[in-house]
């Protein structure tokens, strides 16, 4: 009926089989215990919501409305006590090693109650995943183990990512725009390290983090080929915090200004520099973009989970309100139009969730989660005692060849198609889920009338919080262009991107 050759040819026609079957292809490869572990993670999130998040969400928002300079150490300390900052750090680096896709489910749960608090946890992993994407095993091990030590000593040690500059937001996230933009954060090569100068803005969790993954440029006339990632510690000479932004929502999660004035970063804290990656198969520029894609493929899927949480939170509150309130003399929930609105909202939640699950299936097959989810690796990490990693493996990670090997496996092991598939799906999830999150907040407010306007009914905060999701991790406009680049442009050889 159909030959092997034909199957191959037809499968390669757009949409390419692999692009549309990530979940299907990933399912048989998943280690079984991941399901049980994910169930535990979701249960933990719900318990955390009940005991910490829901009782404090409105209070924290109000506190920051009245005192914008308040820093929510109280929440961060609690999250630290609950082990949330080491949960998704692999055991080899001193963490608990929960499976990575479960982080998105966890985030959705927390976000359904409070996006700011979800961010206070989730953004830490943006920093960690940036660190991981550099492939610098020595530094990954060193910093992650400090996070683990912070949990034991009850002194939270968070990691942030500092990318955005006052004159460059979108430009900093896309290699094709970088060279045309105005990047001003410089890393000047000096004996023994780099001298860092410039300002970073809108850095989530900045004031709360101990480590900052700072993206800087050793030559701002050609940033795409001169990107360096430096690990800067709070308290380092030449590094200070500037203003804390006053935002419309997600008030609980600080957006900080980071100021660097002749801040010396020694070589041992250079996570990534062009010199370190010249032996890889791609050019420095291509590797730079691959690294960005490596990070955003997981974090944009994470924002998809945030968006799903927002959609779900709004749906939950609207449903509760409809069940309890009379409109026009009968229960709101018994008006057919209200039932259809709630059904539409639920549809939005489910659809949003499917996008981040699919994006993470792509990450499991082709991206950042691949090695952790390979069955031998998964069981090795799972079954070996933590002490083995601490005593036997950790010292090995200090060796330079480990970083070299790790980078080869991580970066050279990924094909261009795989980069596009993971990055494209992540952008798709980010755009779809955050738009649906906003949509549900609007619908909930419409359903709740004047009650929805009151902070005590929670939905107005959800709308304020959710709006940020369409902006950070690349605006939804940039992400649409990335979807085009990763999932459409390949079908049209004439297509030119970021150059109209």
């Amino acid at each position: 009926m159909i030959s092997r050759k034909e199957v191959k040819a037809y499968s390669a026609m757009p949409p390419v089989f692999e692009d549309i079957t990530c979940g299907l292809a990933s399912a048989p490869k998943l280690p079984k215990p991941m399901v049980k572990e994910t169930r535990r993670v979701i249960a933990l999130a719900r318990k955390f919501n009940k005991e910490v998040v829901r009782p404090y969400a409105l209070e924290l928002d109000s506190k920051l409305q009245a005192s914008p300079d308040y820093i929510p150490w109280d929440f961060v300390e609690q999250a630290n006590e609950w082990g949330l900052y080491t949960g998704w750090i692999p055991k080899i680096f001193g963490g608990k090693g929960w499976n990575m896709p479960s982080l998105a489910y966890f985030i959705e749960e927390i976000a359904s109650e409070c996006l700011a608090m979800a961010n206070l946890v989730g953004v830490h992993y943006l920093g960690v995943s940036t660190l991981t994407s550099t492939g610098n095993v020595r530094l990954i091990n060193q910093i992650c183990r400090q996070v683990a030590a912070g949990e034991k000593t009850h002194t939270p040690c968070l990691v942030s990512l500092a990318t955005t500059e006052p004159g460059a937001g979108t430009d900093a996230e896309e290699i094709d725009l970088m060279d045309k933009g105005t990047m001003t954060c410089t890393a000047e090569r000096v004996p023994g390290g780099y001298k860092l100068n410039g300002t970073k803005v809108f850095i989530s969790n900045g004031h709360l983090s101990t480590w900052h993954m700072v993206i800087a440029y050793s030559d701002t006339s050609k940033p795409s080929e001169n990107t360096v990632v430096l690990a800067v510690k709070t308290g380092d000479k030449g590094f200070s915090f500037g203003r804390k932004e006053q935002k419309m929502g997600q008030k609980g999660c600080p957006a900080s200004e980071l100021i660097f004035k002749d801040c010396f970063v020694p070589d041992e804290y250079v996570c990534f520099s062009p010199e370190q990656i010249r032996s890889l198969k791609r050019t420095v520029r291509e590797t730079g973009m691959q690294m960005i894609d490596y990070v955003v493929s997981t974090t944009r899927a994470g924002v998809g989970a945030f968006g799903t949480g927002a959609a779900r939170g709004a749906y939950n509150e609207a449903k509760k309100f409809a069940a309890e309130t009379e409109v026009g003399g009968k229960r709101l929930i018994n008006h057919e139009w209200a039932q259809c609105m709630l059904a539409e909202m639920l549809k939005n939640v489910m659809t949003a969730r499917l996008t981040y699950v699919e994006a993470n299936s792509a990450n499991g097959l082709y991206g950042a989660f691949r090695d952790l989810q390979r069955k031998p690796m998964f069981y090795y990490y799972r079954l070996m005692p933590a002490k083995f990693f601490d005593k036997m493996v950790s010292p090995m990670l200090e060796k330079a060849f480990m970083t070299k090997t790790f980078r080869r496996v991580q970066l050279d092991g990924q094909t261009d198609e795989e980069i596009h598939r993971t990055s494209g799906w992540a952008s798709l999830s980010k755009v779809a889920a955050t738009d649906l999150g906003i949509r549900n907040c609007h619908m909930a407010l419409e359903l709740m009338g004047q009650h929805g306007l009151r902070r005590s009914y929670r939905v107005e905060k959800m709308l304020r919080d959710a709006k940020l999701l369409q902006i950070y991790e690349g605006t939804n406009q940039l992400n649409r262009l990335n979807i085009f680049k990763c999932m459409i442009a390949g079908d049209c050889p004439q297509a030119v991107i970021f150059d109209e």
Binding site: A66, T170, G249, Q450, R454
Partner: protein, 373 residues
């Protein structure tokens, strides 16, 4: 556009736009901090001195009597910069309109004529709830030939700053609620702190608790929903004007920013996706302005079917404003989400204003009910 070719309206348009630019825009961020910062009393008083609170009130009742079109012009210009003042003017006008719908001009006159300050002139009202939607009424009991109100009325706008309030209450002898005017300085009135809300922070709403408070009945017992409906018909044009003003403010700020901000080596306005977003915003603004101008004119001239047109236009413009202000933030990116710019406030205010005069779905259903009649 909203003022059309009418000379008086054009003058009002110019004056109110200048007032908004000079008095509201510079203090927008600080004013929005209320109740964590003082209320912008000086600006409210200036608006009162300019008779913006009198604009729709007939001359016989101590007003200016300029009609709905004039009110729309003022609200449009004010809401371009800061909708909170617009919310206060709207609420006061809606309360006045409720009196007129009920034929209670004399009761209204007793408030407006002796008023020697904006606060004595101002009448609070729960303008976000249509009494046909949710039960938000006190209980009225007759004693010695006068009504006494007890119970709670939620989300009464300007209830903590106005001397008087119009509130709905249920009576024993009627199925529908009735509207009553009460003096908020009377014994038995308890007013909550301003309710933390989505938008219009400097147009505070409060919950009012009443314990046997004397009041005056507006019109007939049980006719409250009808009076509210009449008032809402006219005031939906004013609510639409507020949304249109927000839209215009958001577009103006987005245009300004996109001309000055560079991304990828050129002004962001020169990237066609941003240009397309701005074009979509402009289409919405122009359409909204056109509709507000036409419906306010139709109302003042009592054209056939004006109420349906006004209500439909308001629903459409308010929905449009919610979408447009989302893009208004998006064009500015991260800074659009920050308090330093007006976009985030416009986003909140647009959604807040959409709830004026009742729930969105029931406003739509009532429109179609009217067409079936």
């Amino acid at each position: 556009m909203i003022a059309g070719t009418d000379r008086e309206l054009k003058m009002l348009d110019k004056a109110s736009a200048e007032f908004a630019r000079k008095e509201l825009a510079p203090e927008r961020q600080e004013n929005d901090r209320y109740p964590d910062a003082p209320l912008f009393e000086k600006t409210i008083k200036k608006a009162y001195d300019l008779e913006y609170f009198h604009i729709i009130l007939p001359e016989a009742l101590n007003g200016v009597g300029q009609g709905v079109a004039a009110l729309c012009v003022i609200l449009y210009n004010i809401c371009r910069e800061d909708s909170s003042l617009g919310g206060l003017i709207f609420t006061n006008a809606a309360a006045q309109e409720l009196h007129i719908a009920a034929g209670a001009e004399e009761i209204l006159k007793a408030v407006t004529e002796p008023a020697d300050s904006v606060y004595n002139f101002l009448i609070a009202a729960p303008v976000f709830n249509n009494p046909r939607d949710m039960d938000n009424a006190a209980d009225a009991a007759m004693q010695d030939g006068r009504y006494l109100l007890s119970g709670r009325v939620e989300y009464t706008v300007a209830g903590n700053i106005a001397r008087h309030a119009v509130v709905p209450a249920k009576t024993e002898d009627a199925a529908g609620c009735s509207f009553f005017l009460l003096d908020l300085s009377s014994e038995g009135v308890t007013v909550s702190a301003p309710i933390p809300s989505l938008g219009l922070h400097a147009c505070p709403a409060v919950d009012i608790t009443l314990d046997r408070v004397p009041c005056s009945l507006l019109g007939q017992v049980g006719e409250g929903p009808q009076y509210f409906g009449k008032m809402a018909g006219r005031m939906s044009a004013a609510a639409a004007a507020m949304s249109a003003g927000i839209m215009k403010g958001s577009l103006t700020e987005a245009l300004e920013y996109s001309r000055g901000r560079f991304q990828g080596g050129k002004r962001i306005v020169d990237w066609s996706e941003i240009r397309m977003m701005l074009a979509e915003m402009a289409v919405k603004v122009k359409t909204a302005e056109c509709m507000v101008s036409r419906i306010s004119q139709g109302i003042d001239q009592q054209e056939t079917g004006w109420q349906e047109y006004a209500e439909a236009a308001a629903i459409d413009i308010q929905r449009s404003a919610c979408g447009l202000t989302t893009d208004g933030i998006q064009v500015l990116g991260g800074v659009g989400y920050m308090k330093d710019f007006g976009q985030e406030k416009r986003f909140r205010d647009a959604k807040h204003i959409q709830a004026l005069l009742g729930m969105v779905p029931t406003k739509k259903l009532r429109l179609i009910e009217g067409m079936f009649r």
